[in-house]
């Protein structure tokens, strides 16, 4: 009787508030979704995961900016080369990369490594067991699977560009691990550069085929935010240029150019304000909305007017400053101080002379807003012309003519009153194409890799910070980044990049 009272009293504690005691600790999260070891159970979830993979491209260490990281595949490759100059206004947060003083414990390098593999991991989650839906909804599966494969290939290619000890197609030097499964305990070894390329091309080619047969159109004429078939072809063109498979590069570039021609002179400057001409120029961009981060903060922080990197004087000198629409779109001047106006190109204040402080104006903001909120343009038709021109010129023979035509066509789209030029000789033409690449793709994340795949030499003639290094020789270990120390510590199968041991 009395014990009964005790028991009732105790269980009352639960019963008063809950139907059963054990339910109290059976709680599911409301604002997150718990996963299961089996993976997703609906195609909707695969599609959700694909969206998550795209979103990861915005991460600070990929295209975005964090307090101590700048978009590793956005403008950092230009900061590490010779056309952007570190100023005395710089916080020095990227000094180790910009001056090639990195060691294995460099945090930014680890962040870049993790950022790319996070994208890959999310793509692999998207792909895991998606085939189970192939029978019922084939075209939708194609659309999701194709994009995820393209994303996976691209992130691996970006890893290879920084960490690959060589960028040659058949090199036996160290490449990067290629991840195709969801496996937390996996301790992968580095593939050779050749094996890495094999995987990249396999995924990209599969993606390109899958994306040719999908259930709906991925992009709209002025908002090309997804890797559709054309964008995948553009990636294939880029990879094939690096691998020196020029015929393939030319072929893919041609497909893209046909689908998405160059923007005209009137429309081109608007692209850097996110005003997109329909079905031209921009092949794939990573979109940024308010609250999703910013781009280009490592170069010029528009809001507080801090100019961390400025355009090199010699680079600006390469432009036909009066007539090249790129000049006023890419460069400008701005005095120090709060909310001071930006003067595009060589324009000057109504009163007073030119302002000496030169800034990069490509990533300032939409419309007239100075907040570094813009989409990141990953693939542009301008690059496709340069890929095709380089691929044709290298193949030589009659293709030298079409290569020159590509170069002239690009220039004609950028320079007012442009008179086509004649360049004689393959090397002279290649030099002209390389120079045009520096101008066209300035600060878009190409320069370091272009040097790496060609001369492997940097000589800086323009420098402002006394401690900046000025030259990097072809044999320098720094052409390939070190595997982050955390990876080395956790993964005994992985080999350090040559020279960092």
């Amino acid at each position: 009787m009395k014990l009964h009272t005790v028991a009732v009293g105790l269980s009352l504690g639960c019963v008063l508030a809950f139907s059963a005691c054990k339910d109290i600790i059976e709680i599911e999260p409301d604002l997150q979704r718990a996963g299961s070891p089996q993976g997703f159970s609906s195609l909707d979830e695969h599609e959700f995961a694909l969206t998550g993979a795209y979103a990861l491209f915005r991460a600070p260490a990929y295209y975005g900016n964090g307090s101590h990281t700048t978009g590793s595949w956005a403008s950092l490759p230009d900061m590490m080369a010779d056309d952007l100059v570190q100023t005395t206004e710089d916080f020095g947060n990227w000094g180790t990369q910009a001056n090639w003083t990195y060691a294995t414990d460099e945090a930014d390098i680890e962040m870049a490594w993790v950022a790319a593999y996070s994208v890959i991991g999310q793509a692999n989650l998207t792909l895991r067991n998606i085939d189970q839906f192939a029978a019922t909804d084939a075209k939708r599966v194609n659309r999701i699977q194709g994009q995820a494969l393209a994303i996976r290939a691209m992130a691996h290619f970006d890893l290879l560009r920084f960490w690959g000890e060589s960028l040659d197609r058949n090199s036996a030097a160290k490449g990067v691990p290629y991840k195709t499964t969801v496996a937390v305990e996996d301790l992968p070894a580095r593939l050779t550069v050749k094996e890495t390329y094999d995987n990249i091309l396999k995924d990209l080619e599969a993606a390109e085929a899958l994306l040719s047969d999908v259930d709906k159109v991925l992009n709209t004429p002025t908002n090309r935010a997804y890797l559709d078939q054309v964008a995948t072809q553009a990636l294939l063109a880029r990879v094939n240029l690096y691998t020196k498979e020029y015929e393939a590069a030319e072929r893919y570039a041609t497909s893209v150019i046909t689908a998405l021609p160059l923007a005209d002179q009137a429309a081109f400057p608007g692209i850097w304000k996110d005003t997109y001409p329909a079905n031209s120029e921009v092949i794939w961009k990573v979109t940024y909305s308010p609250g999703e981060g910013n781009v280009g903060l490592g170069i010029h922080i528009g809001s507080v007017n801090r100019n961390l990197f400025r355009p090199a004087t010699h680079l600006e000198g390469l432009f036909n400053q009066a007539n090249d629409v790129r000049f006023a779109a890419y460069f400008g001047s701005r005095a120090t101080g709060n909310n001071t106006p930006i003067y595009a190109g060589n324009s000057t204040p109504a009163s007073g002379g030119p302002i000496a402080r030169r800034i990069v104006t490509k990533f300032i903001g939409r419309a007239n807003v100075v907040d570094n909120l813009l989409d990141w343009k990953v693939l542009r038709t301008g690059e496709m012309y340069l890929i095709r021109a380089e691929a044709r010129a290298t193949q030589g023979g009659t293709k030298l003519v079409t290569a020159l035509a590509d170069l002239n066509a690009l220039r004609a789209a950028r320079i007012r009153n442009y008179e086509p030029v004649v360049i004689v000789g393959e090397q002279a033409l290649l030099n002209a194409i390389a120079l045009e690449r520096r101008k066209e793709l300035f600060a878009e994340g190409h320069r370091w890799f272009d040097l790496k795949r060609t001369s492997r030499t940097i000589t800086r003639t323009d420098k402002e910070v006394l401690s900046a290094n000025t030259s990097l020789a072809p044999a320098a270990r720094e052409w390939a980044w070190p595997i982050p120390q955390g990876e080395i510590d956790a993964n005994h199968n992985i080999e350090q990049t040559t020279g960092y041991n």
Binding site: A17, T51, Y117, P188, R366
Partner: protein, 995 residues
């Protein structure tokens, strides 16, 4: 459940002990001598027998005396913990009323030991108490800061001098690397969040009890590992209504700054010697040298603190109540910052028959105005005062804010134009019902349900004209509004049974069920495009595709639950030997299915040595001597996410489309950290109780530490939170308390406590080189937690001005190499304590208290900025004036053209300090003066807080702040990371009146 059943069985045996015999009955009421209140729970025992009973809630008892006992020899033994026991001959009476007096000896002190109350004699564990009245008047917004140096084993480090800021509290050393280390705080049986003490009124608190060892903390199971601070609130007493009013008014000022920066002429000379970055002409230098702004003075002020509190208490023998209200208005020493707090409380208890009903409730409303600290970002006023050149002025000739040449923000503009406001509403309360089962004297059923409710509403405004207001989307100011609420229910239901059998045995057994369930939600928005007439929601410009003003919105939420069954047993033999046993089984929503439940238990023994016959000859020397020993375990589940064991996906948005992004990997094996503690000690009273001492030794080992097991980064993750590793804390605690002079008019008392704690990591993830290096910190097996791991700085080579370092062979080298890093001490405090003294002469009283820490190191990151010559454009420390300029120059500052290496011993400093924490001088008017005015008591007082600090640390304050109680930054303690809001130095004047 097996353990619970076992205890049930014990209970049955107890019930069978009840003899059934009825011959004659003695009844009566037991009261307290001073207040006349009825005393429930008093043991009334027939001397020399097991026959006894307890008084009910009205203090009444009825004891049956079997026939056949020689009545002239019969006597009652009436006892209650905290009271002097009495032996009363029955002498044939049938009604015997008893009045008990409070026992003032140390071992008779009543101690709240968590779920129960014990006589200190019986306590087998390590329990320290601080009386609420000792700290009630301290002019500090968050009460735990007032406990600094008051209790042995408890290290309280103020995070900040910002009014209302919460402190970091560590009991017996840091027992976790990644998990939470803050103790569990319980107010009237209800768990309260440690971050929100500033909306509670410390004057409402009766006692603070610090539970330290396993027998004391294992009753809290999976939340007890970091120790427990149990707080009880004041209760009313029967009698006429007593009103108390106290008012305080005073001033706070900035403490001394020991990091001297350059003045204008020094800085200009330095710039000229180092490249003249602003191309000053001779005329500029002359003009600017005349300006010498002390930016610290610009930002700081003499701040006013006001404090009013009013309470009323009273009642009759059935119902007692306490009502209180308070207003606390504290300005911060940084302009515009401060705390406004309003609280109210009602505590009511009522008795009816065998039932006791009670309600303790408080609400509080606080308004905070804060500024940023513990960050190295620019655009923070507390950094700007360090980094802005003193030749800059806050205003230009036209009265506008100046923009500095170096691009540093104008600290005054930031603090005046940008605001960070927060309103907090807090409700904390519990209701309880206790019932003495009449059929079985000694059995009490009790249930106690309460909640801790907190809501915060915040408004952070960035003026479009300021730097932070420009660096936002759209570039024209920002308003962030946020709201969050959190509610935690704690419900405890228990049955406890107390029985005496035989003359020698006392037994108390209690069974408990407890539920703790918390959930919270929050949301907010950030709007842009301000700068018009409104600095609130009305001023937000609607976003369009092109203006950049599209607002951002957010939401968040959390929930967790704990379900527990536990049991406690206390057994006493001959008032000399005591045994305590605790067992608890906890199930938590936080852990994986594989380890959702865990068991904790402990055992403790105490022995009153001075009661032994062999000590009898020494009772004049050693009045009381107690030996105690305990061992057991408690757990820790704080510091990890609510769903840490689960694979989780977050919302992801790309191109306006919703999706899912994996945010966490699963670890179904995740479980509690477990801290096993061995404790032993002596409690001693000598010189007729005028000198009392406690010495304790403890050894605590935390196993199953939450650590990050490293993963290949090719998973997209760097690590997975897992239970690996162990660490230990061992130490000694001393407490001394003495009455040096005791006479009718004059008393002089002094007290001292100190703690030595040694912290050592035993096991980390993996084998071999498994150090966890994080910046300048290292966690290495065999070493103290959070040790500093840097290269030793060895001054400057006089020939070339290069910085020199010691390599691992103790040779001087000019090459900086991380391979030469060594351990140079830890951020953990090994030695700390406090001491104080009080003098009382008639109505005058002087009471003072000091606290100290010694032996810890601090990494002064602040100096790595102001001693970095690369920042020549900004203001720098004056020591750089000594930098190496010419061959042969002997100095400790390298040439400016060499890049600064900040991870060296140059920036590691000793954290030692001694702080004059509090001085209180008061005068209580003599009674005879007041009687005519029908005033019960009047006291006038003045007090000083943080009057002086003795330290060599180069900064405002050696009590180093960490930005959050939990979270990433608090895991690297002992680092002055930029902006510091120093502790307030406050002088208050006050008056207390009682009617």
């Amino acid at each position: 459940m097996r353990k619970v059943l076992l205890v049930h069985l014990v209970l049955i045996l107890c019930l069978l002990q009840q003899a059934i015999a009825q011959d004659r009955t003695v009844t009566g009421t037991v009261k307290e001598a001073v207040t006349g209140n009825a005393l429930p729970g008093v043991t009334v025992l027939l001397k020399g027998t097991a026959n006894g009973t307890n008084t009910n809630q009205n203090g009444q008892y009825a004891l049956t005396i079997p026939a056949g006992q020689a009545s002239e020899e019969l006597a009652l033994v009436v006892s209650l913990i905290g009271m002097v026991s009495q032996e009363i001959a029955i002498n044939g009476r049938s009604t015997i009323d008893v009045t008990l007096e409070a026992d003032t000896r140390q071992l008779s002190e009543v101690v709240v030991t968590g779920y129960s109350t014990q006589n200190r004699r019986e306590v087998t564990g390590s329990v320290a108490t601080v009386a609420g009245r000792e700290v009630a008047l301290t002019p500090i917004g968050s009460f735990e800061q007032a406990l600094q140096g008051r209790a042995p084993g408890m290290l309280v480090q103020a995070n900040s001098g910002q009014p209302g800021a919460a402190a970091s509290v560590l009991i017996r050393g840091r027992g976790s690397v990644f998990g939470g280390t803050q103790p569990l705080f319980i107010v009237d049986g209800i768990e309260v969040s440690a971050t929100d003490f500033s909306t509670l009124n410390p004057a409402d608190f009766e006692t603070y009890t610090v539970l330290k060892d396993a027998i004391s903390t294992s009753q809290y199971g999976s939340r007890g590992a970091n120790g427990v601070v149990v707080i009880t609130t004041r209760k009313g007493a029967a009698g006429p209504t007593q009103l108390n009013y106290s008012v305080q008014y005073g001033f706070s000022t900035l403490p001394e700054n020991r990091l001297r920066l350059m003045n204008s002429s020094e800085k200009l000379a330095y710039e000229l010697a180092n490249g003249n970055p602003y191309n000053w002409s001779a005329a500029d230098v002359e003009r600017l040298s005349a300006i010498d702004t002390d930016w610290t003075e610009v930002l700081f002020r003499t701040a006013v603190t006001k404090n009013h509190s009013l309470s009323a208490s009273g009642g009759n023998d059935k119902t007692t109540y306490l009502l209180s209200g308070s207003i606390f208005d504290q300005e911060g020493t940084v302009r515009k910052t401060g705390l406004n707090r309003y609280t109210g409380r009602a505590n009511v208890e009522s008795k009816a028959g065998g039932f006791v009903f009670g309600l303790n409730s408080t609400f509080g409303y606080s308004e905070f105005a804060n500024t940023y600290e513990a960050t190295t970002s620019i655009n923070v006023p507390l950094n700007a005062i360090r980094w802005t050149n003193s030749y800059e002025t806050p205003y230009d000739e036209d009265g506008n804010y100046t923009q500095t040449r170096a691009g540093q923000p104008n600290a005054l503009e930031l603090i005046n134009e940008n605001t960070a406001l927060r309103q907090q509403l807090k409700g904390l309360g519990n209701v309880y019902v206790a019932y003495d089962v009449p059929a079985l004297p000694g059995l009490t059923l009790r249930t106690n349900w309460g909640g801790d409710y907190t809501s915060n509403e915040s408004a952070v405004f960035l003026d479009p004209m300021t730097g932070p207001g420009r660096s936002v989307p759209g570039g024209k100011g920002q308003l962030t509004r946020g709201y969050n609420r959190f509610f935690r229910v704690t419900g405890t239901t228990s049955a406890s049974y107390t029985h005496h059998f035989g003359a020698d045995h006392t037994l108390n057994v209690a069974l408990f069920n407890e539920i703790v369930k918390g959930s919270g939600r929050g949301f907010g928005f950030t709007g842009y495009g301000l700068g018009g007439p409104f600095e609130n929601e009305a001023g937000i410009t609607p976003g369009t595709a092109t203006n950049g003003f599209i607002p951002a919105v957010n939401g968040e939420g959390t929930k967790h639950a704990l379900l527990s069954y536990f049991s406690m047993l206390h057994y006493g033999f001959r008032n000399k030997y005591y045994l305590s046993l605790t067992g608890r089984r906890d199930g938590s929503s936080r852990f994986g299915l594989n380890n959702q439940w865990a068991n904790y238990g402990s055992v403790g023994l105490s022995w009153i040595v001075s009661e032994e016959a062999f000590m009898e000859s020494m009772t004049n020397v050693i009045n009381e001597l107690k030996f105690k020993i305990s061992y057991g375990s408690a757990g820790n589940q704080a510091g990890i996410g609510d769903f840490q064991s689960r694979e989780l996906y977050n919302q992801a948005v790309y191109n306006g489309v919703n999706g899912l992004q994996q945010a966490q990997l699963a670890n179904p094996d995740l479980k509690w950290e477990r801290r096993s503690t061995f404790n032993t000690g002596f409690e001693l009273a000598t010189l007729q109780g005028r000198l009392r001492a406690t010495v304790e030794y403890y050894y605590a080992r935390t196993t199953d530490l939450f650590l990050n097991r490293q993963l290949s980064r090719t998973t997209g993750y760097s690590s997975l939170v897992s239970n690996i590793g162990s660490l230990e804390n061992s130490g000694l605690e001393y407490a001394l308390e003495g009455e040096l002079i005791r006479s009718n008019d004059f008393t002089w008392t002094a007290n001292l406590n100190f703690t030595y704690n040694q912290n050592k990591i035993k096991k980390l993830v993996g084998s071999g080189d498994n150090d966890i290096v994080n910046g300048v910190y290292i966690n290495r097996e065999g070493e103290a937690l959070n040790s500093f791991y840097v290269v030793r700085y060895a001054g400057v080579n006089p020939d070339n001005g290069n910085a020199q370092y010691l390599n691992l062979n103790d040779e001087i080298t000019e090459t900086y190499s991380p391979a030469d890093r060594v351990l140079v001490g830890s951020a953990e405090v090994p030695f700390f304590g406090g001491f104080g003294t009080a003098l009382k002469y008639k109505g005058f009283e002087v009471n003072t208290h000091f606290s100290f820490v010694q032996g810890n190191k601090i990494y002064n990151e602040d100096r790595t900025n102001v001693e970095n010559p690369a920042f020549v454009g900004d203001n720098l420390a004056a020591v750089l004036l000594n930098e190496w300029r010419e061959p042969g120059q002997i100095t400790s500052i390298p040439r400016s053209s060499q890049a600064l290496r900040s991870s060296t011993t140059r920036f590691i400093e000793n954290g030692d300090f001694l702080r004059w924490r509090n001085l209180m001088v008061s005068y209580t008017l003599p009674q005879n003066l007041l009687q005519a005015a029908r005033i019960r008591t009047v006291t006038v007082f003045a007090q000083g807080q943080n009057l002086a600090t003795w330290t060599k640390f180069l900064g405002f304050d050696p009590e180093i702040s960490t930005p959050e109680l939990t979270g990433a930054r608090s895991r690297v303690p002992g680092q002055l990371a930029g902006a510091q809001y120093p502790a307030l130095r406050t002088i208050m004047f006050g008056l207390s009146v009682g009617l």
